[in-house]
C-alpha cells in the first residue's frame, strides 16, 4: 500500500517538474523556432509549433544583428557594464571599510543614510533624478547610467560590509603596527581578502546592468548610444510585425546570458542567495 502511494507521489512529483519545465521552455522554444523561419513561412500560416523548413536559416539573425545595430549595443553595454562594476567594487568596499573599521563622528547617521536609501525604490524617484542628471550635463552620455548604477548601489555596500566583518581586525592591526597607512591596509590587505564578496557583487551587478531597461531608455535616447535592452526595444518600430526578425533579436540577447549561466551556475546561485538575503 505504502509502496503504491510512494510510487504515485513520485510520479506526480516528476509530472509537476516536467510540466513546469515545459511552461518555462515553451515560450522560449517557440521564439527560437520562429527565428529560423523565413517571412514567407510565417505569412503562409506556419503555426507557432511547426518546425522551420531549414534549421540552419540564420538570415534573420544577420538582419537583426545588422539592422538592429546589435554590435554597437553590445559595445555600449560592455563599456557601461565594466565601468560600473569596477566602480561599484571600489566604492562599495571603500565605504564598507570605512564603516566597519573606523569609529568616527556621525557614523550612525552615515549608516542610517545608506540604510534608508535601500528602502526607496529608485523607479519612484526617476522624475527628479532626471532633473539632477540633466543639470549635471550627463543626459545622453554613457556617464548617466554609469553614475546612476554607481550611486544607487547600496546592496553592494552591504555585501562587502557583511564580508569585511568576518576578516579579523588583528590582520589590519598588525599591518598598521608595521607602519602601513589606512589606505595601504585597504588596498593590500582588505581588498584582496574580499575576493569572494567581489565575485558576488560582480555577478549581481552584472546581471542587473546587462538586463536594465529603464535607465538606458530614459537617459540614452540617442540611437548611437543604444544598449542591449534599448536596441532590442527599438525592434518594435522598424520591424513592425516581422516576428522572425524580432525573435532572432530576442534570442541574440538571451544567448550570452545562457552561456554565462551555464559556465558560472554555482557562482550565480551563491551570489544571488548572498546578495538578496544578507
Amino acid at each position: 500500500m505504502t509502496a503504491v502511494r510512494a510510487r504515485v507521489a513520485s510520479a506526480l512529483k516528476y509530472l509537476s517538474l516536467i510540466a513546469a519545465a515545459v511552461v518555462v521552455l515553451l515560450p522560449l522554444g517557440v521564439v527560437a523556432l520562429t527565428s529560423l523561419k523565413t517571412s514567407d513561412e510565417l505569412a503562409t500560416g506556419s503555426g507557432p509549433l511547426t518546425p522551420p523548413h531549414n534549421w540552419l536559416n540564420l538570415a534573420n539573425y544577420v538582419t537583426a544583428f545588422d539592422k538592429g545595430r546589435m554590435a554597437e549595443a553590445a559595445l555600449n553595454t560592455f563599456v557601461i557594464l565594466v565601468v560600473s562594476i569596477v566602480g561599484t567594487v571600489f566604492i562599495g568596499s571603500a565605504a564598507a571599510y570605512a564603516i566597519d573599521r573606523f569609529t568616527f563622528r556621525l557614523k550612525k547617521l552615515v549608516v542610517a543614510l545608506f540604510l534608508f536609501a535601500t528602502l526607496v525604490p529608485s523607479i519612484t524617484t526617476q522624475v527628479t533624478t532626471f532633473q539632477v542628471v540633466d543639470q549635471l550635463g550627463l543626459f545622453n552620455t554613457r556617464l548617466a547610467p554609469i553614475m546612476l548604477y554607481l550611486g544607487t548601489d547600496i546592496v553592494a555596500i552591504y555585501i562587502f560590509l557583511q564580508f569585511i566583518r568576518s576578516i579579523p581586525i588583528s590582520v589590519d592591526e598588525a599591518a598598521r603596527l608595521d607602519g602601513a597607512s589606512a589606505f595601504a591596509v585597504y588596498w593590500k590587505i582588505i581588498l584582496p581578502l574580499l575576493r569572494p564578496a567581489i565575485a558576488t557583487v560582480v555577478i549581481v551587478k552584472g546581471i542587473a546592468v546587462y538586463n536594465d531597461f529603464y535607465i538606458p531608455f530614459l537617459y540614452l535616447p540617442d540611437q548611437d548610444l543604444g544598449t542591449i535592452s534599448t536596441s532590442l526595444f527599438r525592434f518594435k518600430g522598424p520591424f513592425g510585425a516581422h516576428w522572425e526578425n524580432i525573435s532572432a533579436g530576442a534570442i541574440l540577447v538571451i544567448i550570452p546570458t545562457l552561456v554565462v549561466f551555464l559556465l558560472l551556475q554555482r557562482f550565480i546561485y551563491n551570489g544571488l542567495t548572498q546578495g538578496s538575503t544578507k
Binding site: 507521489a9 516528476y14 517538474l17 513546469a20 519545465a21 518555462v24 515553451l26 515560450p27 517557440v30 521564439v31 507557432p48 566604492i91 571603500a94 565605504a95 570605512a98 564603516i99 573599521r101 573606523f102 569609529t103 568616527f104 557614523k107 543614510l113 526607496v120 525604490p121 523607479i123 519612484t124 524617484t125 522624475v127 527628479t128 533624478t129 532633473q131 539632477v132 553614475m147 554607481l150 550611486g151 547600496i154 546592496v155 555596500i157 598598521r176 603596527l177 602601513a180 589606512a182 595601504a184 546581471i207 538586463n211 531597461f213 542591449i228 526595444f233 516576428w243 525573435s247 530576442a250 538571451i254 546570458t257 545562457l258 549561466f261 551556475q265 544571488l272 542567495t273 538575503t277 544578507k278
Partner: protein, 318 residues
C-alpha cells in the same frame, strides 16, 4: 565622544600620517582607530554619489510635490496640498492600484510555487540540477527579450491559443487587448520571470538545514508533509517574510513588463507607468512627484509593518 572630536581636529590640522597612526594606535590600543579624516576620505565618493543620486532627488521630489511645476519652465508656484488632494480624490488616478492587486495575487502564487519546487528538489530527484537550472533561468533573461517572447506567445491565434486548443479550449483570445484578460496575462509573465529567484533562495535556505534533522524525523516515521510542516517551514520563515515584503513593494512598483508589452495602455497601466507618463508626457512634474511620494510612503509603511512583525530580521531589498 570628546576623544573622537579631539582626534578629529588633530586629523583636520595635520592630516592622518601613517607613522602618526601607528604611534597613536600603540598609545591607545582600541579595536577601531580613531582618526578624524581617514574614514571620510574613504566615504567621500560613496557619500557624494549617495547624496547626488538618492537624497537630492528625494528632497526635490517632496518639494515639487507641493508645486505645480511642469518640469520645463524656470519657475513654479507652491500649491500646498493640491496635488495630494488630486491624487486622493480623482478615482482615475487611483484605479492603477487595481492592477497592483493582480500582481500581488500573482506574487502569492509565485511564492507557493517556489516553495513547492524548492521542497521537491531538496529531496533526491533525478535531473535535479537540470530542473533547478530550467526553473531559475527566466530570472536571468533580459526584460525586453521576455516582453517580446510573451508578446509573441500571447498573440491572437498564437502559441498560447494553439496550446489551449490541444487541451480542447478553442477560440482565439485577445490576451493582451481584452481589459479583463490583460492583467492576468501580464501577472502570469511576472510569475514566469521571478518564480525562479524565490525558488533558488528557498532552496538555499532548505539546504542549509542540517540533514540529521531529516534522518531523525524519518526514523521517527515522519511523513514528507510532516517533514515540510515541522522542519522546512519553520526554518524558511525569515526568508519568506523577506520575500513577502519584496512582493508587496514589487507589485506596487511594477513597470518593465507592462511598459514593454502593452505600453501601459488601458487596464494594464500601473502606478509607476502612470507617474512616468504624468511627468514625461504630460509635463505634470508636481503631480507626478506627489504620486511618487505617496508610493514611497506606502512602501515605507509596508517595510515598517514587516519590521514590527518580524523584528529580528534585516531587510535589504535585492
Amino acid at each position: 565622544m570628546t576623544q573622537t572630536s579631539s582626534s578629529l581636529r588633530r586629523g583636520g590640522a595635520g592630516g592622518a600620517r601613517p607613522q602618526d597612526a601607528a604611534r597613536r594606535s600603540r598609545r591607545r590600543p582600541r579595536r577601531h582607530w580613531r582618526q578624524g579624516l581617514t574614514p571620510w576620505l574613504f566615504l567621500l565618493v560613496p557619500l557624494a554619489l549617495l547624496v547626488t543620486f538618492s537624497y537630492v532627488p528625494i528632497v526635490n521630489m517632496v518639494v515639487y510635490s507641493f508645486t505645480d511645476w511642469d518640469g520645463v519652465s524656470p519657475d513654479y508656484t507652491f500649491t500646498g496640498l493640491a496635488n495630494y488632494a488630486d491624487i486622493l480624490t480623482r478615482p482615475e488616478l487611483f484605479k492603477v492600484f487595481v492592477a497592483s492587486a493582480y500582481y500581488l495575487g500573482a506574487a502569492v502564487l509565485q511564492i507557493v510555487l517556489a516553495l513547492y519546487f524548492a521542497t521537491v528538489l531538496s529531496f533526491n530527484t533525478r535531473f535535479r540540477n537540470l530542473f533547478k537550472g530550467i526553473l531559475f533561468f527566466p530570472y536571468l533573461i533580459n526584460g525586453v527579450a521576455i516582453g517580446f517572447v510573451f508578446l509573441y506567445f500571447f498573440q491572437e491565434g498564437g502559441t498560447f491559443d494553439t496550446v489551449l486548443r490541444l487541451f480542447g479550449i478553442g477560440g482565439e483570445h485577445l490576451w493582451l487587448g481584452d481589459p479583463d484578460l490583460v492583467n492576468f496575462s501580464l501577472a502570469g509573465v511576472s510569475v514566469w520571470r521571478y518564480m525562479g529567484l524565490n525558488f533558488v533562495l528557498f532552496l538555499g535556505a532548505i539546504q542549509s538545514i542540517p540533514p540529521e534533522l531529516y534522518e531523525a524525523a524519518q526514523l521517527d516515521g515522519a511523513s514528507r508533509w510532516q517533514q515540510f510542516r515541522f522542519i522546512i517551514a519553520p526554518s524558511l520563515r525569515p526568508i519568506i517574510g523577506l520575500t513577502a515584503i519584496l512582493a508587496v513593494s514589487g507589485s506596487l512598483s511594477v513597470f518593465e513588463i507592462p511598459y514593454i508589452m502593452t505600453g501601459g495602455a488601458g487596464a494594464s497601466e500601473t502606478f509607476v507607468i502612470q507617474t512616468i507618463k504624468l511627468a514625461f508626457r504630460f509635463n505634470k512634474t508636481g503631480l507626478a512627484s506627489a504620486a511618487a511620494v505617496v508610493l514611497l510612503v506606502i512602501i515605507l509603511l509596508v517595510a515598517w509593518v514587516q519590521r514590527r512583525l518580524v523584528p529580528e530580521e534585516r531587510v535589504t531589498p535585492s
